[in-house]
Amino acid sequence: MEFSRRETIALGLGAAALTFMPFRVDAAAEEVIAAFTGGADIGEGGVTVTAPEIAENGNTVPIGVDAPGAAAIMVVATGNPTPNVATFNFGELAGAQSASTRIRLAGTQDVVAIARMADGSFIQASAAVKVTIGGCGG
């Protein structure tokens, strides 16, 4: 497949636009998020990520997510070799749209939570975690 000059320029512009996304997350994490949202716009506010500011051990970092009215919340560790962490799908009998767990973080990074609301819109929030010892065994 060959690209004409015009197409090449268009591709370059597209790539440049991607790098100037307001949320600074790397490409792998971005793909994971896009797969979850289907490319829809993501709003701010209404979702909370609870994480320690400094985690001494990246193998078990306690985190919590909370998004009242959400149908599902996806947690993404933007700096991990595989950014997916977990997706919480809340059922009818969920008492609150919140959950907590313990996760592995490879290094200092942002933990992002994206919530899919009942009406199909998406919101996100992030928390920066400093990790002293990474948790991916490298």
């Binding site: 977990a86 969920a94 609150a96 907590s100 973080l105 991916c136």
Partner: protein, 110 residues
């Protein structure tokens, strides 16, 4: 990996109808991420994790979590549930190797 897997769940024995209560679950599992290398041979240790956890009450879903390798060893989850009548709460974990671990707790109203 079916050795030493032991689910542990903490639910209140009694709940008030329509009022949320907290459930804590933990299952002992090494959650091999597939990223680690064997120190002697230098080869990657294959991934072996629990990839899904569900909680149901009388057949209705409370929570359904899909789990990736980034969840820690001995995966722990805490979440809230609300029930209207007495019944059984069923917790199920799905292993990569096809094993399914489950445990049931009954919750009374009172």
């Amino acid at each position: 990996m079916a050795s030493g897997v032991k689910p542990r769940v903490k639910t209140p024995k009694k709940a008030t109808a329509g009022e949320a209560f907290t459930i804590k679950t933990l299952i002992s599992h090494k959650m091999e991420s597939g990223q680690r290398k064997d120190k002697k041979t230098g080869e990657l240790i294959p991934r072996s994790i629990i990839n899904r956890f569900t909680c149901e009450f009388n057949g209705t879903s409370v929570i359904d979590i899909s789990i990736e390798p980034a969840v820690s060893t001995n995966p722990y989850f805490q979440f809230d549930a609300v029930v209207q009548e007495a019944g059984d709460m069923v917790f199920t974990w799905y292993d990569d190797d096809g094993s399914v671990y489950d445990t049931t707790k009954s919750v009374a109203i009172g």
